[in-house]
Subunit: 238 residues, 2 copies
């Protein structure tokens, strides 16, 4: 796909996981010139940023930016606390400890800022409210509320051109996401979903995110290319 | 005022300027234990963070946090570009070049995150839509839209205790703000509003923010304690 300036611009929030990689592929398929945006925020799985870099390159993003955010300093999440344990083998319901306070609000705020600077017409985010961890900021009503903020907050909005907040995975199952991404040529071996990978980027196979991902591949009848830390994890039931 | 844990907690966004200092005084007057929150975001007037520190101490904030944010990297504002000129002596209307893309959305997102971690019931922000620079993210409808995000985005929201976004200055004139703050004991000599101060924190007297501030003191019939860069600035007409 050409990268002439006639393409509509889109900011795509890219974690390096399965969902955001698929979202980037969809934005590219929609004809957008994609500005991939990742964040280094003290996540224990910061190796995901390497995955994000590989995914951005592989899917033809026009650029890939990584911004440093002081989220871990605030505390409140096992995902940003090296001393905490990430839940494995299922959780008891409710919002899990891996939830990071207001993370998607912060990420979308920066996406909105970048969209304004670039004049981009959309901010893509790979949130999903079907096969997800129960985070409040992955729900459709949250996305709608942030859309309203986007329609008011910026110079673009005042000029009648607010960016759209696009969440194409919102109502899809993990299997549907995988099938759609595979059709668009996403190489899922480049992605990393695990909350607690080892230094080589191999997945634990047991955290919420691994469990949802593995079940998705199984339900999509698609081979799971994930590299797990131990061979026995691969047969672990989800 | 005591700082026992029975006080309701509030996060107060504190720039070190006149408006946010008054807002902090109001939150204290409302009986809140106040967590002042400032941002180092590449603003050319980063000396305002010293003002914020003085204001937080003087008004009895329980703590004062300063977070580093990568806003200047995004570009798009004369306020974060050392090579740009800040408008002086009035602007032509519209949104001025000092507007920083999505700044208040980013600041409120971090305020929301901190409120959640602390279990605070409110996020105070000193935005004002009367004597203001025309920034879109200072308008009442923007504050309402972000309130809706706060009601959905977080664990607090899911548990039925979302924080309120409190903007007590929204409909006040600058003179009314100054009069109210003076009654609450705000020492405005500690505050810094200027967009382009010198290294010693003295105001230029000519930027939008200086002009609104000076007119406010005059209309409030209150002596202006601002330190200006040159004596002649003090007689400059606003």
């Amino acid at each position: 796909m050409s990268e002439n300036t006639g393409q509509p611009g889109a900011v795509v929030l890219l974690s390096g996981g399965l969902d955001s990689a698929t979202t980037l592929a969809m934005a590219r398929h929609a004809g957008c010139r994609c500005h991939a945006l990742s964040f280094r925020y003290g996540q224990r799985h910061s190796v995901e940023l390497e995955a994000a870099r590989r995914v951005a390159a592989s899917l033809g993003a026009a650029e890939h930016r990584v911004l440093d955010l002081p989220i871990a300093q605030l505390g409140g999440s096992s995902l940003t606390d090296p001393a905490a344990q990430v839940p494995r083998d299922g959780v008891a319901g409710g919002i899990p400890s891996t939830y990071v306070p207001a993370r998607n609000t912060v990420f979308l705020a920066f996406g909105l800022a970048l969209a304004e600077v670039l004049g981009a017409g959309a901010v893509y985010i790979g949130v999903n409210a079907v096969d997800y961890s129960g985070y409040p900021d992955c729900r459709p009503e949250f996305v709608r509320a942030f859309q309203r903020v986007a329609e008011l907050a910026t110079r673009q909005a005042v000029e009648g051109k607010p960016p759209r907040i696009v969440a194409p995975l919102l109502q899809m199952s993990k299997a549907e996401i995988i099938s759609a991404g595979a059709r668009l040529g996403v190489d899922y071996s480049l992605t990393l979903s695990c909350y607690d990978p080892d230094a080589e980027g191999r997945a634990c196979g047991r955290c919420d995110s691994c469990r949802l991902r593995r079940r998705g591949f199984r339900e999509a009848s698609t081979p799971d290319p994930t590299r797990y830390q131990t061979p026995t994890e691969e047969s672990h039931k989800t």
